[in-house]
Symmetry: C2
Subunit: 472 residues, 2 copies
């Protein structure tokens, strides 16, 4: 702990009280390593303000003492975006005590939640008033709305409702100079200059600390239907999506699963089985919902799948007959990463290309990776309707135990080059954080890097906000 | 013309050819005065590049010679946002020759249009492939997609589809350093740092020159129904909107019209008449549409209005029996400003508050303005469902001929204070431009002004982009 840090921590203790400043290394320890356990940081203290006013105090102290802050919600970043530097040169700023839901209005379809509210709790709270916050993802029991906003999180329902960028109507944030941006007013139209709300969404805490967020709500689900469909190819899967889009607005999940991922899940995950008889090259999990009790969503899904079957678009399909069966279908989708890791070493890439380009990309990129790195298997699965798949490269049985360390970087660069050549993004939904910063520096146009740096320096001239993240 | 301007113009003539540089004052004249004819600027030349490459050339020359550029589309700004300074110290940059529609894909529901494409032409082009670009407004025959994007334009269909911010999936822009930001890829998910797309939307040309925009399309309208409804109060009108929202997604226009505005239209606009018998304090124009031919949208609207009538929510209603009648209803709405101007001097304010707060604001603000400025009449009309009304203050018969000049500023400040106290925006959809810059400086929190200035200076350190606009 250097002198500046000591001064900051002393001052913070006076302002925030004992609950607001944690210095016991055992208490800090779970929060300085990233979600996947791969990146280990260090911090002399974890500050835990309980109100926006206390966040203002903390930011002003950080500026005064030139000690950088690493804002953190549920610590579920997939890019080590909330992990402090290993040299202990920054202090953790936990937002988890800012956990009040300030308001929920079914009439205005709006909730205002503080940054530390956990997603699952928000889901429950709005359900109580007959509404729904439609974004969800695997870490919903841990991730916070502040982190979701700072990373412009996506998930499985983006197809219909968009990412956080589309769901946040405004936010409250403490800027690096200690001033407060208040965008919580719930105005539907406001043209008073640059949108600081939009600038802070996806900024990964590098431009300020989000303290509260106003979120769009939609009516609660009155009916849900989930189907598992076998198709020949990703191209067929996309045709199926277009067919559905032409006939209904009800589809909110459309997840692509290759046969080999299904087989790995069945092999490694207890209690799973193939939803369909026979073998299909590819599978699609479709979730359709309605907020109107009068609509027979299961019947609608069944009828459309019947038409698709008759026209030869799909090979087979089954609509879940019960909530348990629907959950079983989702369990297959949600277990793919776990099953792949059980099979052996694996490299994950969260990438996107234009939706229409995805079928060809999947086929071509897999083939090119497997040709360039003999022995590996490359497959993509996930959010086909968003043009976003998780492109995983598996080592194969005969790989060396240090395959990941030895070949990982080279393979990732190869994949990122393919994505960039296809006009895609090397980070579709996980952000840049620490882990993708070098690749962003390597692949982004110089003009873009210049703009990111200029904006960062303009709003955070002292460099006190989440150092070493996002901006190359 | 100063020395720098001469050098810029000479160099531009060499690069862009004769069509790209207009110096004849007669040709420039229509473009240096704002849409309403109130603000008169001057420019020694109007540059008219025909491609993104030529825009890059122009921006680089402007930087080299330190001559500011005033980007301009259709010159339809309501805030003089595209009018050059009166001292001739900047050059006009017309984007109207960048008028190609680069692509339209019904399958991907996406069109890419260059900045100079006129909105009405875009409407027609996408209609040809069975699609629709759902934003529209009065100036659709003149305004361009670049200007619409730069001002985050709204209009009458925002209720269902949002402003430009929600409809632009990405854009291409030349930044002040001459680099190109290319966000046209059509990625649905992309988390590679700060969103330059969102930063440039609504930036009024102060951070760069938008050269092309990727726009969301929706299926073409298969059926439309328009109704005119009489209600007691703005509160009742809002209840009616909530009632509709609970039963249908079809409402895309919900415009509030006070009785006195209707009477002024009937008095001054030839061929208009009241859609309903009897008198109602307030009126609502409802437009409902569907993209599905099977849906009887007129029947649905009629049934819901019948229920609302039975429950006493509304006083009377009529659904247009023909396209001509529907147009007649819209003509009333669209003629209000013209009718008010025909009646006498008038001050317009484009303001918003939270939707739920609008009924009380309308009543209270009108009363307060009329009390503070005896003799004037204050009324609001417009986009109730967006919390955005045009709040007009009329001088009354006995006002002095110079009322507008003498009292205008004081009244506008009074209105803006009321809006600010209600947590609203002094510019809902028209932007800041030149006309609202002083009010933004007066009313925005210092932290926000500091952030706007810092971002502006970071991206445009030489100050060559639309000087004197937006940023206080």
């Amino acid at each position: 702990m250097n002198d500046s840090e000591t001064k900051l921590i002393d001052a913070a203790q006076r302002r925030l009280g004992p609950k607001g400043v944690i210095t016991d290394p055992k208490e800090i320890e779970p929060w300085v390593t990233d979600w996947r356990g791969r990146v280990h940081g260090a911090a002399p203290a974890m500050l835990a303000p309980a109100s926006t006013e206390e966040v203002i105090e903390v930011v002003k102290l950080a500026a005064e003492h030139r000690v950088p802050l690493v804002p953190q919600g549920g610590n579920t970043s997939m890019a080590a975006g909330a992990t402090p530097p290993a040299d202990g040169s920054a202090v953790l700023l936990s937002l988890r005590r800012l956990n009040r839901i300030r308001s929920i209005s079914a009439e205005n379809r709006l909730a205002v939640a503080e940054a530390g509210v956990i997603l699952a709790m928000l889901h429950d709270a709005v359900k109580d008033v007959g509404m729904r916050f439609p974004l969800t993802l695997g870490a919903r029991g841990s991730c916070t709305v502040g982190g979701l906003t700072s990373t412009n999180a996506g998930g499985t329902q983006v197809l219909k409702f968009g990412t956080m960028r589309a769901l946040v109507t405004g936010l409250e944030a403490v800027l690096p100079d200690g001033s407060v941006h208040n965008g919580l007013s719930g105005l539907k139209k406001d043209n008073r200059g640059y949108s600081l709300d939009q600038l802070l969404i996806g900024a990964e805490g590098t431009l300020g600390v989000i303290t509260a967020v106003a979120l769009k709500l939609v009516p609660a689900i009155a009916g849900r239907a989930v189907a598992w469909v076998g198709v020949d190819s990703p191209g067929r899967a996309l045709q199926l999506l277009r067919f559905f889009e032409a006939h209904t607005d009800a589809v909110e999940g459309f997840e692509l699963v290759p046969e080999e991922c299904l087989q790995l899940v069945i092999k490694h995950i207890r209690g799973t089985r193939s939803p369909l008889d026979g073998s299909h090259g590819w599978h699609v999990l479709i979730e359709a919902t309605t907020s109107k009790p009068v609509i027979d969503i299961g019947g609608q899904l069944e009828r459309l799948l019947g038409e698709a079957l008759q026209s030869g678009l799909i090979g087979d399909a089954v609509v879940a007959a019960s909530e348990a069966q629907a959950e079983a279908f989702w369990k297959i989708r949600d277990s793919i990463s776990e099953a792949e890791r059980a099979e052996g070493q694996m490299l994950a890439h969260d990438i996107s290309v234009a939706v229409a380009d995805m079928p060809a990309f999947l086929t071509d990129a897999s083939a090119e990776v497997e040709r360039a790195f003999p022995g590996v298997t490359a497959t993509g699965f996930g959010h086909l309707g968003d043009g976003n798949i998780h492109f995983h490269v598996r080592a194969g049985n005969r790989a060396a135990p240090n395959w990941y360390e030895a070949e990982g970087l080279e393979i990732t660069r190869f994949v990122d080059d393919l994505v960039t050549a296809a006009g895609g993004s090397i980070s579709a939904e996980h952000g840049i954080g620490q882990l993708k910063r070098a690749e962003l520096a390597r692949l982004a146009p110089p003009g873009r890097i210049g703009a990111l740096r200029a904006i960062k320096h303009a709003l955070d001239p002292l460099g006190i906000m989440n150092p070493g993240k996002l901006v190359p």
